[in-house]
Symmetry: C2
Subunit: 462 residues, 2 copies
């Protein structure tokens, strides 16, 4: 290590000891003979003092330091007199009296200050993302995201779930949003698609006997980007066999309890309240009700399950029924009669959303596990037998070989991180997000590629 | 839950208690009046007995059971007489005497038996992957992979590393292998690329002050698939600031110690031996030496670091120098004189590989963190200033704003899982792998897409 301690570590216990720190120059104060700098790393900030009589070399080099220079300073830890203690920072009891200073890398003058006090334009922040991430807001957001994912994994592992990776290069089965396509060079004229979710793979894993699956996984949707959508986003994906909706709730509630305890130190009460979709629409005119609107609910974090969604919605333009959740959702047995009569508007699904303060945290359903029922649903939403076979034939085939009853849920990690950090935009929870036009300001992706690359794929631009 | 216990859980402590199990019919033995079935789930196997006098209903339904039917059986746990105990399985002390049997889903006769005793063709195994994963070999491989990743995360989190997600839709910067391309609909004629590794992003995260980064992450290479390569593969990606090669070794060695202890219960000795690339080539004629060849090394797992790789290799066909590791690798200060004289064949890199039993587990390097040095390397490997700017301009720019010294390493998760499981092929460590021709036998990806999808992307097949 080039350092003996981090910039957040030294305190009066280290008094008179030698220490070497590395970090970025956060501030320089030139008091004639004495020069003070604050050096910063991920862990904190330490004041360094350069005294000409202690080290003329260090003092001379210190005169050249500009903001965001990367330095290595060796010296002796000096305990500050009581009245000089800075109580605002953990290292405020000491300063490092420099004996040696090395500039590891100089820096151009940063295009914005590394502080949360002023908020630079998002364009600048995304272009110079490496400067933005040095700001406390972004650093804390990425740290919170890490803590969140770590808490989730500890919980899920403890519950006997297996983390299984599903493919990124997969089959195009467009429904809902558009797929991103990936041309195959080895199979010219054919395409992979990036998964909108691992839905079919997690169901196949249940057929495979995995019993309890989870994954924190990237998903992809080629949408016209509305505010606060990203072409790639991350979800906690869960599926379980031999369970009912109650088991999903009994898993998710203590999971969120643990998340809020570990990340925010807050005890949230469980079980969460539940309301039917019909109630939510009636009472809140929304399927994402914000229970804080209700005067009796004073909690900062108001969770609710919304259950019993309609199974189908009618698409007037295309004059056909569509799935409200997705076509792999099972129906409520109570509504079987409506279903068999073709009275689809009255059929409710065994699907559920978890809503927090008016945000949909996630949604899921008890799935269909029987081939004939699945084929019937495809037919109702207007997929011909041939089309269903072409797109979803592998799922139907899997259902022929002992598919267990199963159910699952998926929660959005980006939004959840934003809520935990009190941030408005999910872009502030993602290290390298895309703009609303779907590009990366830092790398300038997407970009043109060589004609040779397209030739190899058997493609031409129109 | 549809069950009270799993199929691996009941023992004589549960004698005379009621239990309900769910699982797959692994075997049926019809002894006239008595019918025995073994039911199986991820957790184990339990014998169930159907006695007509106990439940005529269950006995009648049991007659219809075929292999891999999914069933739910309720009954009473009967402790077996001592001489009937099956010592081969944890549930061998008991059997479940069925009082109720429900067929949750029938099954076609499986195309191969769910056992490791015979190995079906790989074509069948990949087509019916959901049956293959029910086999002990595949199930254990996925479980081991889960344990491995879980051990890695616990270790890395304990060392203060932050798991940061890097983008999957990124900029095409081809070098080494071909990029997979993703046409952008919102920016017609432009393309994203899937990352060959998060190399540039992890270096940018160091510039951003993240200090200690890791990620278990999918990477993509559009290669002509040789034996045991996959177009998408997973690596443990690590980067640290203010460190030297020694710090990477001091992190990786206890990491592998923990992995082998937790996953295999084996104590591996550290530190690992080291040899230079020159020694490895001389003594083993390989840069991936298998130290077990040496008679003094009797260990089952023989790790070694290979260090001091050449910085460049000469491409005779193209008459130019190439990077041996990658162009972001720093050179050994001892060889600076050769470097400045243009005697590139003599310049060694600060790069290192970890080798286990002749397999490269991972490789890494101390990186360049200075703009001018990085530009010089691009120039040596034949990138024009303009080309370097176009592809890597964002990295060069980041180096202007206080890039710290940093180093990193990446380890292949697929190969490591294969070694831990004693498997030859990485395909057996991946839930849904591609064939050597780069397609998925189960879903039939890649596949043709609608002309409308191509139109939206502004592309036409040639």
């Amino acid at each position: 290590m080039l350092r003996t301690h981090t910039c957040g570590e030294l305190n009066k216990e280290h008094g008179n000891k030698k220490a070497t720190l590395c970090g970025w120059v956060a501030a320089r104060r030139d008091h004639g003979k004495l020069i003070f700098i604050d050096i910063r790393d991920r862990y904190g900030l330490t004041q360094v003092v350069f005294v000409p009589s202690v080290s003329p070399q260090a003092h001379t080099v210190a005169q050249k330091l500009g903001p965001e220079f990367v330095v290595r300073v060796a010296g002796t830890v000096a305990v500050r007199p009581a009245k000089m203690v800075n109580k605002d920072i953990p290292t405020g009891e000491i300063e490092l009296c420099a004996e040696d200073l090395e500039i590891l890398n100089p820096s151009e003058v940063p295009v914005f200050e590394i502080t949360d006090e002023t908020e630079p334009s998002e364009e600048l922040r995304l272009t110079y993302r490496y400067l933005d991430i040095r700001r406390p807001k972004l650093r804390q957001s990425l740290e919170t995201r890490h803590k969140l994912c770590s808490a989730i994994r500890t919980f899920m592992n403890g519950q006997g779930f297996i983390d299984v990776e599903t493919p990124v290069l997969t089959k195009s089965t467009p429904e809902g949003a558009r797929d991103f396509l990936v041309p195959s060079r080895l199979n010219p004229g054919e395409f992979f698609a990036l998964p909108q979710s691992p839905q079919l793979f997690k169901q196949i894993l249940m057929v495979a006997g995995i019993d309890r699956y989870y994954q924190i996984v990237k998903c992809f949707r080629d949408e016209d980007l509305r505010a606060d959508r990203q072409p790639e986003f991350t979800q906690l994906d869960i599926e379980m066999s031999f369970v009912t909706q109650e088991d999903i709730f009994a898993l998710a509630e203590p999971l969120f309890q643990k998340i809020f305890k570990e990340v925010k130190g807050i005890d949230i009460p469980i079980p969460f309240p539940r309301m039917t979709h019909a109630q939510a629409m009636k009472q809140y005119n929304s399927d994402k009700p914000d229970l804080r609107q209700n005067k009796d609910n004073k909690d900062e974090f108001a969770f609710t399950w919304v259950v019993d969604f309609p199974m189908f919605k009618y698409n007037k333009d295309e004059k056909r029924w569509e799935s409200e959740h997705h076509p792999f959702t099972s129906i409520m047995e109570e509504d079987l009669e409506h279903f068999e009569k073709g009275d689809y508007a009255k059929v409710r699904a065994r699907s559920y959303d978890l809503v927090l303060n008016g945000n949909e945290l996630g949604s899921g359903s008890v799935r269909i596990h029987q081939r004939e029922r699945q084929k019937k649903i495809f037919q109702i939403i207007g997929l011909s037998g041939q089309e269903a076979q072409k797109r979803f034939g592998f799922l139907l085939k899997a259902f022929d070989y002992g598919a267990p009853p199963h159910a699952g849920v998926a929660f959005g990690i980006d939004r959840l991180t934003a809520i935990l950090c009190g941030l408005d935009s999910i872009r502030d929870t993602i290290a390298f997000p895309k703009t609303q036009k779907g590009n990366c300001m830092m790398t300038d992706a997407p970009s043109e590629v060589d004609k040779k690359q397209l030739d190899e794929l058997g493609l031409r631009k129109v």
